[in-house]
Amino acid sequence: MSPFVIITTALASLGASKLRTGLALLGIVIGVAAVISTMSVGRGAEQSITERIEALGTNLLFVRPTNTGPLSASTLTIVDGEALLDPLLTPSIVAQAPEVSTSGVVVAGRENTFAQIVGVTPEYEFVRSYSVSSGQFITNEQVVTRDEVAVLGSEVAETLFGFRDPVGQTLRISGRQFRVTGVLESRGGTALGNLDGQILVPITTAYYRLSSQRTTQGGIAVQAINVQVEGIDSMDKAIQEVTTSLRLRHRITDDDDFTITSQEETIETLTETQETFALFLGAIAGISLFVGGIGIMNIMMVSVTERTREIGIRKAMGAKWRDILLQFVSEATLLSLGGGIAGAVLGVVLARLMDGREIIGQNFETAVSGDITILALAVAAAIGLFFGIYPAARAANLHPIEALRYE
């Protein structure tokens, strides 16, 4: 039999019982649609995480003190950060920006909100790729004079001041009055916390006026030092330099009292989590695809039994084992491939509909990609082939006389 005849015969058989064909398709349609839409959500989340983290500034290292206990003093100071600019010990480091963070209730007029308050230096602006939408960033002068000024994240600004321009207004943090000197461009993002919900103040102000911790060596204890490296290729070298420098300064002979994480690692950790989640969802969707395959097998078994006489007639007319096998295998494969195509369309539509929408408090971003769609289609066809072979072999193995006699 020619492939054309096989396919037209299969299509005619499937078309003869449309309702049943439709129901058999449904399992595969749902399975493929589920696989494509969940994988798209997973891909989308992964992409947006990567984009957001990269938007923080590339070539970044984060140096943090090792947390030895809730009562122990922080071991990383602002002086450690300044030491990282030594051209001899740490030549790969371009810039550094320490941060001191705390949190508290912020009040402006009758509005109040709970915000993360980050004490920063002017370098923070370009090391972390911030930009100011109005007013100006924290200045060196303000750091030196421990000025009580604040630069607001866009969300905080909106919460406290609505549509008014916050620059020049005042607000209270921990009972102290602060003057708003700038508002940050919106960053969005959940990957490293909500950056729009932050309030930036001079690092000295944060340290001396809003918190009261001290290091054993004196100086300002910081929660993190953001280190900008000259290039992505120098990351490993830079980690080495920072480690050496800090170990020397801290006179460490055994374990480091700090940890260094790179942007890369942060992305990896987060995308790994995301991938695990996507894989889990994909596995569930895959199970529904498998169940769809069993549905096809079931329908094919019924079909073979029902068409026993037809098989007998075809065999009497000279159909060989292979002819009957191919007829039923191609029916099953076309069935699930058809379901796969319908499911792919449905899945892509679903993914598009979900894109950028908030569903159960989650902001979905989806990325439909060709490889997922092709994979899902191939899997659907393979499932049809796999689950079609057993019923088809049963049909092909029927004895012509018994099949002809079947009522």
């Binding site: 039999m1 005849v5 015969t9 005619a12 058989s13 003869a16 006489r309 037809e310 007998g312 007639i313 075809r314 065999k315 009497a316 007319m317 000279g318 159909a319 060989k320 084992w321 292979r322 002819d323 012509p400 006389i401 002809l404």
Partner: protein
């Protein structure tokens, strides 16, 4: 598989060429067919020997259980003998595999069934095309319509079986059997489900095919008046042939068989 087909056909052709004109097309020698039903062996055919020549028209008669259906299955290459030799066109059928039997059925045998066995979803034309799907061949549409024309149904080509009368359906069945131009036309109770007028029509077509086109026609029936229309009648009972000859001898054979049974 293709290699097998070619060699099969080639060897058949060689043997056919070596045969003299009057050599038998079908030759059975001491053919038996035993079915196992549980622990009991049923001898459906118990040593059948006969030969049928090209261009003959033969009726095989017998009551149900006489073994005539089994004989037809063997003749039609739907089944192989348990023992004995069945030569079809110089080819030993007992030695063939299932796929080779399918090939023989496709090329050499045209079946006409009591219940027509048409595929209900297909039109008359598509039903007639069916044997052409399983073998090399193009021009399916033309050959199918020619075959339908031959049985006088060219105006019903696009009708489905349910839209045709019993007699018309059987004519579609005959057209389907003819479409591959087979050596043998095997009709199993072809008039069993038909009224007497349609029966006469069908018998007329079968006899015409034998008389005018020289086709070998074998009719299996339990009706003496149908069998009597064939020049040669083989009567079966209990898996053996009890009489073989022109229909005039039918009574004698039956009497002889009855006599045997009494002894």
């Amino acid at each position: 598989m293709v290699v097998g087909e070619v060699s099969l056909v080639a060897s058949a052709a060689v043997v056919v060429n070596n045969m003299s004109e009057d050599q038998a097309m079908i030759e059975l020698s001491d053919v038996t067919k035993v079915y196992n039903i549980g622990t009991i062996d049923v001898h459906a055919l118990d040593g059948v020997s006969m030969s049928i020549h090209r261009g003959e028209m033969v009726a095989i008669m017998g009551a149900s259980g006489s073994g005539k259906s089994t004989l037809m299955n063997v003749l039609g290459c739907l089944d192989v003998p348990s023992s004995g030799r069945y030569m079809l066109d110089g080819l030993e059928v007992g030695a063939l595999s299932g796929n080779q039997l399918a090939e023989i059925r496709n090329r050499k045998i045209g079946f006409v069934f009591q219940t027509y066995n048409l595929l209900p979803r297909l039109t008359a034309q598509a039903n007639v095309e069916l044997p052409l799907l399983y073998g090399a061949g193009n021009d399916r549409k033309r050959r199918a319509s020619e075959a339908l024309d031959r049985v006088g149904l060219s105006d019903r080509m696009n009708h489905k079986p349910t839209e045709l009368s019993g007699g018309q359906q059987q004519r579609v069945g005959i057209a389907r059997a003819l479409v591959k131009d087979p050596s043998i036309l095997l009709a199993d109770e072809p008039t069993g489900n038909l009224d007497s007028r349609s029966s006469a029509e069908i018998m007329e077509i079968l006899m015409e095919l034998n008389r005018d086109e020289g086709r070998t026609v074998i009719i299996v029936t339990h009706e003496p008046e149908i069998a009597a229309q064939a020049p040669r009648v083989i009567t079966m009972r209990d898996g053996v042939i009890v009489s073989d000859g022109p229909p005039e001898t039918l009574g004698q054979g039956a009497t002889a068989a009855a006599g045997e049974a009494q002894q």
